[in-house]
């Protein structure tokens, strides 16, 4: 018996032939006793495999898995919230920095002249304020970037 015929008989027993191939095999088996005997052996093997006992995961495994997934989902939710909060902090810090420059310009310009206020101390305070704002924004951006990188590595 050729390897090709053996393959067809095995696949027929496994129900893995298309209808035309299966019909050809059936027709051949009606005429060839040797192949019919061979086919019967393949069918017995397939039936043995089909009777494999149904195995199930234990209740303990399923419970452990549900618990682990719920924890993971909670972590994911917390990470998303933290990311949003950090993003807001970055945006806020940058906005404040930009607004501060405008205020500084206003206060050290015409408004300061109109109010007849000394420009020196006001400018120094606002310069410090702006620098602090920019540093905060930069630190927040660095933190956000590192966290995103870390999450990328975990995922």
């Amino acid at each position: 018996m050729s390897g090709h015929v053996a393959e067809l008989l095995a696949l027929a027993a496994a129900g893995a032939l298309d209808p035309s191939e299966a019909a050809r095999v059936e027709a051949h088996l009606r005429e060839c006793a040797a192949c019919a005997a061979e086919a019967a052996e393949w069918r017995r093997l397939a039936e043995g495999l089909e009777r494999m006992p149904p195995l199930r995961p234990s209740h303990a495994l399923v419970a452990r898995t549900v618990e682990a997934v719920e924890e993971r989902l909670a972590e994911r939710s917390e990470r998303a919230w933290n990311r949003a909060a950090l993003g807001f902090a970055v945006a806020f810090a940058w906005t404040m920095a930009v607004v501060s420059w405008l205020l500084l310009d206003l206060l050290t310009g015409e408004l300061a002249l109109r109010l007849d206020r000394p420009v020196g101390p006001t400018a120094a305070w606002y310069a410090a304020y702006v620098i602090a704002g920019w540093l905060t924004a930069g630190a927040a951006a660095v933190l956000l970037g590192r966290r995103t990188q870390e999450e990328g590595r975990i995922a």
Binding site: L11, G15, A16, P53, L55, P57, V66, A68
Partner: protein
């Protein structure tokens, strides 16, 4: 409407009830598949848990226009194959004999088969290569038709057919080598 897709959408929103429904429908098949492929109960349990964790993490990448089960099995398969490659870096199916054959005593799948169908068939199945056990499990236990089998394996249909035949032939060869007559009855 496909309940899997609805539950996947719920899980995507962080609703664990969606996960519970998905697990309820797929956990038995998934566990059986992993046990057959990995051949070790403890490792299969770990892979089972890791699979669902990855499903929860990556549910956003699931394409809702496609059925859920093949995606789930693809996640599980990648995890299992990674484990097998770490354990034995060479090809998973090139060698006719495993370095450390899984014995019926060590493999719960083999034990169960031995109880119900005879020790020789169990021994022969357990000694097959992981990819041979996988294709037999998908066809005969999960009752996947050839197109779904090929999709799960990520190969064309003719390749799936060839793998199925090769696994059957190797199983038969093992049985005949041990007991030429009445081997699997």
């Amino acid at each position: 409407m496909d309940p899997d897709r609805d539950d996947a959408a719920r899980l995507r929103r962080g609703d664990t009830a969606g996960l519970a429904e998905l697990m309820d429908r797929h956990q038995d098949r998934l566990f059986r598949y992993l046990l057959r492929l990995l051949g070790d109960e403890a490792v299969a349990e770990d892979a089972f848990q890791q699979t669902w964790l990855q499903v929860a993490e990556r549910i956003g990448r699931y394409d809702r226009s496609r059925p859920f089960a093949p995606w789930l099995f693809a996640v599980a398969r990648n995890l299992a194959l990674d484990h097998l490659r770490r354990r034995r870096p060479e090809s998973l199916d090139e060698h006719p004999e495993p370095e450390a054959p899984v014995t019926p005593e060590a493999d719960p799948f083999a034990r169960a088969v031995a109880r119900q169908q005879g020790a020789r068939l169990a021994d022969a199945v357990a000694g097959l290569q992981p990819l041979d056990r996988e294709v037999l499990s998908l066809r005969f236990e999960e009752d996947l038709a050839l197109p779904q089998l090929a999709e799960t394996l990520g190969v064309p249909i003719p390749t799936a057919k060839a793998r199925l035949y090769r696994a059957l032939a190797r199983l038969r060869e093992r049985l005949l080598a041990r007991a030429p007559a009445e081997a699997w009855r």
